[in-house]
Symmetry: C2
Subunit: 114 residues, 2 copies
Amino acid sequence: MESDKIIERWLPQFRKGLLEYIILLKLQQGDIYGYELAIEIKKLTSIEVAEGTLYPLLNRLKRDGLVSAEWKTPEVGSPRKYYEITALGIETLAKMKNTWLETHNSIINLVMQS
Amino acid sequence: MESDKIIERWLPQFRKGLLEYIILLKLQQGDIYGYELAIEIKKLTSIEVAEGTLYPLLNRLKRDGLVSAEWKTPEVGSPRKYYEITALGIETLAKMKNTWLETHNSIINLVMQS
DNA sequence: CTTTATACCTTGTATTGCTAGGTATGCTAC
DNA sequence: GTAGCATACCTAGCAATACAAGGTATAAAG
């Protein structure tokens, strides 16, 4: 699926979820696995992502080709499923950034006026 | 329902909708009716709110006591249902603002790092 | 009187966040 | 060595909601 189409489908959902945006931003900084991602998001944004939210969301991102996944077994500990952002993911993220900035500016204006 | 409870229920939905936030911000600037609100939101944020989204949302806001509504018949044109933000609405909006600012700062940090 | 614009509403569908459960592995304390 | 805990992933089902697609009613314009 092409990026524009994804954006088109994402736009209505934007108000529904900063989560996809936050996850892609985080993934852009390097590969990470789900469990760690939940901890990082909480640390960074104080948003406590339920596992029942996160894992299905990551699967959706994978299904849509925005991320890829790979199992890795650390020398100590349980096997982990690492996610990596794809080229399509980066392209999509750039558009999300624009939408985010535009919306944010609009809201700033609204707040200023009041 | 008390404000904290509303926030508690709103928090998980926050990612789902900047719309409630935007509408309350707009209402804080003065009473407005649904049809005009849709036009204003589009002008301000480029978000095209479907009527099937807006009217049920306004009814939810009313149900939860964040806004009140009153029919007014202008000297010319169709009758309009004007919405006014309540004290509870203003209180709730203040908390939404905090959450918004916090989340925004977190995202700025994420964007900066990448 | 027909058309257009204004203004509000509802039904049904798809999506999605979350709760509440589950599985499996490895580490640690006894 | 085994019981308990932490790590790490997953899914079914529910509730909320954005939206499309339809509807109603009024009044202005042609």
